[in-house]
């Protein structure tokens, strides 16, 4: 299962050198690339988030704690899934991490297989998010290539206005509206109005 993710990178953030090397060894043994950092700031500085992957993070880090870091990543717009590990966990900490979106929370010592399962889950989640983000980005790119008028007509048409209403709203002739509409569909690569509606909805989402 993990071998589908040969291009993904697991980022290990733990101040304990023995943990870092043990985890590196574990991931390498199953063919997953791993990078390790002894501090959270180093991960951010090295821009690890640009390739598919996930983060394995110790909750107790000097400087910035794992939970605060989780929040910071979100603020930075870094969406890599996170697996928390800890030697001294407690329930409130676990709940807080899980509510903040951690994929899993493992207490040391954990079984290797449990970590591998969590990583597989995390990488699957990351891949799915990238796919849907990529799709939205392709659509946004196409939309950007529409003329302003074409964009207006597309948004009004997908909101449900008829050509006549769009013409009235924009002060254009119906014929002109039809031309813009057809151009929009062509450039967006939508074969039907239904497809155009779905594209508009995907673009519209943040």
């Amino acid at each position: 299962m993990l071998d589908e993710y040969s291009s993904a990178i697991v980022h290990i953030i733990d101040d304990d050198e023995s943990v870092r090397s043990a985890l590196q060894r574990l991931f390498r043994s199953v063919g997953i690339q791993a990078r390790s950092y002894d501090a959270a700031q180093k991960f951010i500085a090295e821009k690890g988030a640009e390739v598919p992957g996930c983060i394995v993070l110790d909750v107790r880090l000097p400087g910035i704690g794992g939970l605060e870091f989780q929040e910071q990543l979100a603020d930075f717009g870094i969406n890599l899934p996170i697996i928390m590990i800890t030697g001294h966990g407690d329930v409130p900490m676990t709940v807080r991490a899980m509510k903040a979106g951690a994929v899993d929370f493992l207490s040391k010592p954990f079984r290797d297989q449990d970590l591998l399962d969590a990583v597989a889950s995390a990488l699957a989640r990351d891949r799915a998010r990238r796919a849907s983000d990529a799709e939205a980005e392709v659509l946004r790119e196409r939309f950007r290539l529409l003329s302003p008028r074409e964009q207006e007509v597309m948004m009004l048409a997908t909101a449900g206005l008829m050509n006549k209403q769009i013409a009235g709203r924009l002060g254009l002739s119906e014929v002109t509206v039809k031309i813009h509409r057809r151009a929009a569909m062509l450039k967006m690569e939508a074969e039907t109005l239904a497809e155009l509606v779905r594209m508009a909805d995907k673009i519209g989402r943040p």
Binding site: G89, V91, T94, V95, K99, L106, G160, T192, L193, A194
Partner: protein, 223 residues
């Protein structure tokens, strides 16, 4: 069991369901909820819970992870298996991380270690009830749509995907081998029955139907 009763005028707006085998815990929780005007029902076991007819209103469960008979986590699985989506808040006197993680992964709203601050419990309950209100609203929209879809005649169901695709009446008529007037009649009728104000409206409804009821894929389309 949770869905019986329907939303009657006499029903509370929302209910909190407490399951704990410890009498004093149950009683103090019920007191706490009533003090903020929340209706609360309590049960000493999950068996008792299954037996009870409850109003069909926004609800949430507050239960101890360690219950005699069925563990809280197994009960959570049973609910999920029975498609009962009432949000759950777990309590425990002996938290352990694997249990907490499991509960959270399975969708628990919160997991509170006893003794917990009353405010934390109230915050969790409010969050859980909000979640349930939203879920019920979304579900009602889908059920309403499904009801309206069932009012369509077979012919209207054939015309629906063609209209949603944006085909002109003339094109639909050719496709189905009927007159344009017939198509117009079906189109008007199906839009009216579904309460669709435009073709894009119809597209979104058709997609919502497909998402929720793959068995109801309209004819002429692959689901």
């Amino acid at each position: 069991m949770l869905k019986s009763g329907g939303g009657k005028k006499s029903d509370p707006e929302a209910i909190v369901l407490v399951i704990d085998d410890d009498d004093s815990v149950r009683e103090s929780l019920v007191r706490l909820f009533r003090s903020v005007h929340l209706t609360a029902f309590s049960f000493s076991s999950t068996a008792e819970f299954w037996e009870r007819r409850l109003p069909d209103v926004p609800s949430c469960l507050v239960l101890d992870v360690r219950l005699p008979g069925v563990s809280g986590l197994d009960f959570q699985k049973q609910l999920i298996g029975g498609s009962i989506e009432v949000p759950i808040i777990f309590m425990t006197g002996h938290g352990d991380i694997p249990m907490t993680t499991q509960a959270m992964k399975a969708g628990a709203v919160d997991f509170l270690l006893k003794p917990f601050r009353e405010q934390d419990m109230l915050d969790a309950v409010n969050q859980a009830l909000d979640r349930d209100r939203k879920r019920r609203l979304d579900r009602a929209v889908v059920q309403d749509l499904r009801r309206r879809f069932h009012e369509l005649t077979p012919r209207e169901r054939e015309v629906l995907p063609l209209v949603a695709a944006g085909l002109l009446n003339r094109e639909i008529a050719a496709h189905l081998g009927v007159s344009e007037i017939t198509v117009k009649v079906h189109r008007g009728s199906l839009m009216r029955k579904l309460h669709a104000k435009s073709v894009p409206d119809l597209v979104r409804m058709a997609d919502l139907l497909k998402e929720n009821f793959s068995a109801l894929a309209t004819p002429g389309e692959s689901s």
